[in-house]
Subunit: 439 residues, 2 copies
C-alpha cells in the first residue's frame, strides 16, 4: 500500500507559496520587534513536564498538551506556549542579564485540540517580553508595538481594536466587592473568560451554580452582571472607581491616546486564559465580522521567573499567532502580491556547456538569484514554467549568445525581449527587484 | 522545590548572543540557496511513524527516534530528518509542480542519542533538494552550492574537502565483483560506513564475520581491502574502472574542476548512512584536526517520491547541520564580530515625558532600532548596559535636549559625544550600520 501524502492532522505543510506568505509576515514581525529594541532568542521545542505543571492553566497540561515519556524515562512536553521557557531562561541567568531585557521569539507551538478556523494543532507565535520594568511604561511599549505591527501590514484603526483590563481589578471585584471566596472567585474568573462564547442566560445559570445560596440571595450575580456590563472606567460603580488598578488602567489609556493609539478601550470581560497574569491584561481583536476574535493577547506576569528559586523579575509579554494574523491580512485585503526570491530563470538552447555554466556563475556572482531550466526544453515551455514559479525574467543562453556575449532577457509580464550584456541584465533585474520588493 | 532552569538534555537554549550566531549562519545559508534558485518550504515537526518505517535506515526508527502515541491513538514521530517529509510533499502535488523543482528548508530535527561534540538531540539542518533532474547537472549544482556555502563564510579550499562516491559502484563491487549475497552486501555496506571509526584489525574481524567460510578462504576480505585502499578512480582494478558508475564519477569530478571547485576527490569509503541513496553520494569534511568529520552529506535518491504511489521523480539532495558548521566557523576563526540589531540605546534624564516618547517614536519612524533604558538610572549605568548589550550608540534625552531639539549622541567605542538633531543622528547611525553590517 502506498504511503499517505497527508501531513499530520491539524498541522500544515508549507509549500514555497505558503512559506512566502509566512516569511512576509515573520519579516515584518521581526522588523517591528527590532524597531523597539527587542532581541531574538529561542528554546528547544521539548521541555520537561514539570515546567508546565507549575503555573500554566491546568487544562493546558491535562488535556491539550503533547506529553510523552522519552527513552530515558523523562516526562517531556512539546511546548504549548513559550512563556514558561523564556521565564526559565531568564531565571538561569538572573544575575548576569542586564535589565530591561527585551526579548522576542517566533516559536512553533503545539496543542492537542480539534482543528478549526484560526486554531490548529501547530501554530507559530510571535512572543514578546520585557523583563525588569515594574512601571506602566512596559505595558505602554508593548501595546504601542502591537499597534505598530498591525500598522506595518497596512491595517487601519477601524479594522482592529485593543482591549485592556486588570487582573488586580478583577480580583478586587470578585473577592472584596462581591465577597466571594477563593474557589468561587477562581471559577467565576474562568467563566468570565468564556463569557463571549455563552448566551447571557447560560452565563447566569453557570454563575448561579458557582455561588452559594446565600450569595445568590444577596444578589451577587446581579451585582456582577452590572459590573460586567460597564463599558468605561468612568461608569464603574463609585467604590470600584477608587481602586488603584483603575487609575493605572486610566493612566495607560491616556498615555496610549497621547502616543496616537486611538483604537483602544477598557473591556472588563478580558481575562486572558493563563493563570500567571498578575495585573494589566490586553488583547487585540479583529473587527472583521468573519474573524471576530482575539489575534493577540498578553499582560503582566511578575511571578513566573521567581518560581525558579531566584529573585522575581517584573515582566510584561504578549503572544501573537500566525494563523489569526494570516486570516486578518487576507480578510482585510492587506496581502501584497508576493513574488519569487528567484530573479531570473535561465533557458539554455542546446546542451549546457561549460560556457553556459560560466555565464550562469557570473550572474550569481553579480548578485542575482538564478534558477536553471531543464536542458533541451522548448523556449515556450521555459517561459510557462518560469511564469508558474512567479519568476519575472527569463535569460536565454545558447551558442550564439555566448559567442556574441549578448543574451536575451525576456520580461514575462510585458513579454518584451531585449539583448544585453550580462552586466546590463544584472543592472536591469536589480532595478526591478528594488522597485518591486514588497518586503 | 524550585523548578530547574536547565533546558532538556541535549538541546540548546538560544540566548540573544547564540541566536545572533544562528541567524548569521542561517542568513548566509538562505542567501546561497536562493542564489541558486532554491525556494524555501517547511513541514510539521510531527509526522506519522509509517513515513519513516518505509525507507529510512532501520536503526533510526528503532533506537534513535522520538516516537509516541498521540491522544487520538496515532503513532507519531518528531522528525529525525527532512527527506521523508519533502518526498511526501512532492508526491502530494506530483502532477501540479513544475520541474526542476528546487527546494530548501532549515528544519530542526530530533534524534535520541547521547549528546556529544557535534551531535546533539536537537539540531538544525539546511536541507536542499532538486527534483526532476536525472542527469549529473543536479549533483554538479548541489556540490557547487555546498562549496559556495563554505566560501560564503570565508572558508579557503584547504580548510575542507568534498568527497564523492557512488552507491551503484559499491553495489557492483559487493554483489558482482566480490560475489556476495544481498544480506552480506548490506551488512558490509553498513560496516564500510563505520570504517573510519574502527581500527583496521577490528574492521577485518567484523568483515570476516559477515562473510561465509568459503568466501573468507577465497580471499574476499583481502580483495575488498585492496579496493577500499584505492585513492583514485584511475587506480581502481581494471574490471571496476569499466563500470559506467566510474565514468559518471569521473565526469562529475571533471565538471567540478572546470567550474573552479578544486578541493574534491573520490573516496570509496563514503557510504552515507541512509538506505534510500541510489547513486552518487557526497560529503564535505572539515580538515581541521579538532573537527575532522563530515559536515554535510547527500546524494541521489530517485526512489523515495515513488513510495507514495505516484510516478517516481529523480532527486538529489543534501543536509548540512548547524552544529558542525558552527564548530567549523569557530575552529577556523571565520566568525566576524556580531553586533546587536539594536542601533541606539536611549538614556532619559528625569522621568520619561510625552516629549521623550515622541522623540523615541520619531527615531523609530525614521528607521532606527531603538531600545529605551530604565528611567532614573545614572548615565554611566546606561552606557555600561548598552555596551554589554553590544549596542554601539547611546542617545541622551532630557528636558534641555527636548527644548533645544539637540540630542547627545554617544559613540561607545570612541566614547565621543556630539549634539545633533534627531535627523542628523539617524543619518550618522545609518551610515555606521551600512558600513558595519557583517551579514
Amino acid at each position: 500500500m502506498a504511503l499517505s501524502t497527508q501531513p499530520y492532522k491539524g498541522a500544515r505543510d508549507f509549500y514555497p507559496e505558503d512559506k512566502r506568505l509566512q516569511k512576509y509576515m515573520f519579516d515584518k514581525l521581526r522588523q517591528v520587534a527590532e524597531r523597539y529594541g527587542y532581541e531574538e532568542y529561542d528554546a528547544p521545542i521539548l521541555e520537561s513536564l514539570e515546567l508546565y505543571l507549575a503555573k500554566s492553566g491546568a487544562e493546558i497540561v491535562n488535556e491539550q498538551t503533547y506529553t510523552f515519556t522519552d527513552r530515558g524515562g523523562r516526562e517531556v512536553v512539546i511546548r504549548p506556549e513559550m512563556t514558561p521557557s523564556v521565564s526559565r531562561m531568564v531565571a538561569a541567568k538572573r544575575q548576569e542579564l542586564s535589565y530591561p531585557l527585551r526579548w522576542y521569539s517566533l516559536p512553533n507551538l503545539w496543542r492537542y485540540e480539534r482543528p478549526q478556523r484560526g486554531r490548529l494543532r501547530e501554530h507559530w507565535q510571535l512572543n514578546v517580553d520585557v523583563f525588569g520594568l515594574a512601571g506602566s511604561e512596559a505595558e505602554l511599549e508593548l501595546i504601542q508595538m502591537a499597534n505598530a505591527i498591525y500598522k506595518s501590514f497596512g491595517a487601519k484603526p477601524a479594522m482592529y481594536e485593543i482591549r485592556l483590563n486588570s487582573r488586580r481589578l478583577m480580583d478586587y471585584i470578585l473577592r472584596e466587592y462581591l465577597g466571594l471566596n477563593e474557589v468561587e472567585a477562581f471559577s467565576l474568573a474562568k467563566l468570565i473568560d468564556r463569557m463571549h462564547k455563552l448566551d447571557r442566560s447560560e452565563f447566569i445559570a453557570l454563575a448561579d451554580a458557582i455561588c452559594s445560596a446565600s450569595e445568590r440571595e444577596a444578589g451577587v450575580v446581579e451585582k456582577l452582571l452590572t459590573v460586567l456590563d460597564t463599558k468605561t472606567l468612568q461608569t464603574l460603580p463609585a467604590d470600584l472607581r477608587e481602586h488603584d488598578s483603575v487609575a493605572a488602567l486610566n493612566g495607560l489609556l491616556v498615555a496610549l491616546a497621547d502616543s496616537g493609539v486611538t483604537n483602544v478601550r477598557f473591556d472588563i470581560t478580558i481575562m486572558r486564559g493563563f493563570d500567571y497574569y498578575t495585573d494589566i491584561v490586553f488583547e487585540v481583536v479583529d473587527l472583521h465580522p468573519d474573524n471576530n476574535r482575539a489575534m493577540m493577547g498578553g499582560g503582566r506576569y511578575d511571578g513566573l521567573v521567581g518560581l525558579f528559586g531566584v529573585e522575581p523579575v517584573p515582566t510584561v509579554g504578549f503572544g501573537l499567532g500566525d494563523v489569526t494574523l494570516a486570516n486578518f491580512i487576507e480578510l482585510h485585503n492587506l496581502l501584497p502580491k508576493l513574488t519569487s526570491e528567484t530573479d531570473v530563470y535561465v533557458a539554455t538552447i542546446g546542451d549546457i556547456t561549460a560556457g553556459a555554466t560560466h555565464a550562469i556563475g557570473e550572474l550569481r556572482e553579480m548578485g542575482l538569484n538564478v534558477a536553471v531550466g531543464l536542458a533541451g526544453r522548448k523556449l515556450v515551455d521555459h517561459f510557462k514554467i518560469a511564469d508558474k514559479k512567479k519568476i519575472h525574467y527569463v535569460v536565454i543562453i545558447g551558442a550564439q549568445e555566448l559567442a556574441d556575449e549578448q543574451f536575451t532577457l525576456k520580461n514575462l509580464s510585458t513579454t518584451e525581449s531585449e539583448k544585453h550584456s550580462l552586466q546590463r541584465i544584472v543592472s536591469i533585474v536589480k532595478d526591478y527587484r528594488e522597485t518591486n520588493r514588497k518586503h
